[in-house]
Symmetry: C2
Subunit: 462 residues, 2 copies
């Protein structure tokens, strides 16, 4: 039998995360204070995050040690397995070698706990007893609930009301791990009360949920806030996956020609590719291609503007330099809820600007079709987000067939879709459709980008 | 760090299944033809099963080779991991060493594909293009759908209508893997049409669904029938798990004092314990305790009668000697749908009769409470069925604390509960209750056990 699985012993869980910041060929544009236009300081962020995470956000160290307490929790599902997709290759009749690193065996079923566990730990170490966060469809909220359970930190999740009502499974997962989950807008915050006074039936948005979570965190000394993607420290924690993958590809005896992953905020894919992009930066692997796959409904990298914008829709965060569709842009209701984001992690955007990674956008129907092919060959029913990466993987493999070239393709498989079966149901019943790029809505949202104080004098901003 | 995980390389997937039949201290009572009272012959079963499976059902060989094609599919998730539950031990403050072997990483999320893949393969090898089966909540139907996808066999699943309507996720999984799933009773069979003519709103039962699946299999040359538990060949296929576990416990350096698992039809737990019970039979490990955990709502081993009965509620199967509550007994609607069975695998019943294994019954509320403890310590949200085994594991660990004895407890963890979150929702909302043993209903069902022709002369039967 040909080898299908490549595994590591638990002792081989990386003992450091990899920080790309010192290896970037040009420094990352700073995060700016929206009031002053100056780079934010650690103190600016202290009401929201523990100092350990703030230090990681700006760290010049290439490797940052993973505390033993975190590695002990990682052992519950890490290291994760690298698979060679022989059955998919055969079905596609392609000479390509397809590998996938699978993050779906974590307790919540995705890559998210790689950072959720770390964030809960660092907060606990600094005496924080409670963390608030927001969640859309619930993938992040459930991961943080799990992280909180691991270290005895109380988690409160503001969940967009329409998801809270329509997708109860993720809420129940949060509650099973002991978290409190409330529909947003809620009567628990001033922001929520004001909105409910105006519209008691408001179905909520991620922007409102962030505002509520931040308001509560800022107003209580025992409470911090947590974000599940976009920020540097989140990507840092996710590199545990890329470091494992690098070791495993060595075991498999191949170095990837192409790495493919889906991107919403970008943490899943960056976590896998950052240790590889290092090889491209230092010239060891100049031909490596890294393909970020986003949905046509929210194509920030392929259609957005590289500019300073808020990370959230409500405009409460510092300003991040990123490819953005405008923080006021609300993507169409595709089933890949984790990809419905107006911006993208600044690190990915910077690498894209520098030409070190590429991007493409995929339509919803094609991604589900690819997901079905994957399920019927490799067995795994994948999350709708992951199906975007599978679509691009299959397309690259078919190109190998056309060209008669045996490239090695590495797929970042971010999680299973067992809690997303309603989306598959709609697809199989022919109820799904594609969403074209909403040019007019984006134009309008981009007209409302925040002004960066003093930007024109400094030549910064857009 | 203390070791948490024990893993095997894919090359170490067992190349043979273990067949307990030749090692039993007394032979298993034969399966009887309900018309003649004589042991069934392979020919009797040929309309339903491929000859390879029929031969396995009666095989005198201790080890039966696993075909390479099946092992290739097993590689998609096997070997599965043995965990040491350090976090649970700590939470319970117990000196017990708790290990669990986790089957939830298979594509459908349970142990079921261990036999589903094998059954699809053997049918395909004998030219069978279609397989029918029944499913209650959908765990088995989805596993067979996956198995069918692996070998290009068409799968048709008759799903109890009330589950089809109320629990659509498993149906969608089946469809994602390409199976056809119809609500039972259906217009596709005579049995179904007759029932619908009488009651168009009939919500169905497992008995009706079996009747429909069998009727269709018998009436078409290209179609066989498949059963997901109870029969010897099903338990045989599941021993791949127990054989792995035995190797892994050796790696961990401990032999279990107690093995715990949940039982509905019995295939999950038998698959794990059969390679260990062998050591008890041959005297190597006389003190090993093997605890079958069943629900109070369907306590066949603890309250049933050891007698010949039909395997299905409708009375279509041959007669099996087992602890039974009567084939007409319909268990209360506990959330652990996979444990709602009136009988038990004849092999387990025989071992129980011989005093080689023991049994206990658990109430629903206590099992969910145990499941919550497990989720908050070990991370995994378990299937409601598995929670029965977790309840007994925790109780045994607490007994170790009371007695100050460090026993080694091995838990057969059959799968995750991501598709069962509605059950957790009900539990957390206080909507669940316990079901007492329904003595009167059982008494009535036992009054209608089938007569075994000629049994009195032979001294057989009850």
């Amino acid at each position: 039998m040909e080898r299908t699985k490549f595994i590591l012993d638990e002792k081989e869980i990386p003992d450091h995360w990899y920080n790309i910041l010192p290896d970037l060929p040009e420094p990352l544009p700073p995060v700016l204070h929206p009031g002053t236009g100056e780079p934010v300081t650690p103190d600016d962020l202290a009401p929201l995050f523990p100092m350990a995470l703030i230090m990681q956000e700006f760290s010049p160290e290439r490797y940052i040690e993973i505390p033993e307490e975190i590695r002990e929790v990682y052992q519950l599902w890490r290291p994760t397995t690298l698979f060679r997709a022989h059955r998919l290759e055969k079905a596609l009749d392609t000479p390509a070698r397809i590998f996938y690193k699978y993050e779906g065996t974590s307790p919540p079923g995705s890559h998210k706990p790689n950072t959720a566990v770390a964030q809960a730990y660092y907060n606990k170490m600094e005496g924080i007893e409670r963390i608030t966060t927001e969640t859309g469809a619930g993938q992040w909220g459930s991961a943080l609930a799990f992280g909180g359970a691991c270290f005895g930190v109380e988690i409160k999740v503001y969940m967009v009301r329409i998801s809270y009502d329509q997708k109860p499974y993720r809420r129940v997962m949060m509650e099973t791990w002991g978290a409190k989950c409330v529909p947003s807008p809620s009567p628990d915050t001033k922001v929520g009360r004001d909105i409910l006074a105006d519209d008691p039936e408001c179905t909520g948005s991620l922007g409102i949920a962030i505002s509520e979570a931040v308001e509560e965190a800022v107003s209580r000394d025992d409470t911090h806030y947590s974000l599940g993607s976009v920020l540097n420290h989140v990507l840092l924690h996710q590199t545990v996956n890329g470091l494992e993958t690098k070791k495993l590809m060595e075991k498999a005896g191949f170095y990837p020609d192409i790495i493919v992953g889906c991107v919403g905020g970008g943490s899943n894919f960056a976590g896998l590719f950052l240790p590889f992009v290092k090889d491209k930066i230092d010239g060891t692997r100049p031909d490596l291609r890294i393909i970020n796959v986003e949905p046509f409904a929210a194509p920030s990298l392929t259609k957005g503007l590289y500019a300073y914008d808020f990370g959230d829709e409500a405009g409460l965060t510092p300003l991040l330099k990123m490819y953005t569709l405008g923080h006021g842009f609300i993507p169409a209701p595709i089933h890949a809820g984790g990809l419905r984001y107006h911006g993208m992690a600044p690190i990915i955007c910077h690498l894209h600007k520098l030409g070190l990674v590429e991007a493409r956008a995929e339509h919803q129907l094609g991604t589900f079709k690819a997901g079905i092919t994957f399920a019927r060959t490799e067995g795994i029913i994948s999350a709708p987000e992951t199906n975007h990466a599978i679509r691009a993987t299959i397309d690259e493999a078919l190109k190998c067939r056309e060209e008669g070239v045996a490239r090695t393709i590495l797929l970042a498989h971010s999680g299973h879709g067992h809690v997303d079966m309603a989306a598959y149901d709609d697809y199989l019943a022919g109820k799904l459709h594609n969403y074209e790029y909403p040019a007019e809505k984006v134009k309008e949202a981009l007209a409302h980008l925040p002004k960066v104080p003093g930007a024109e004098e400094k030549g910064e901003g857009r």
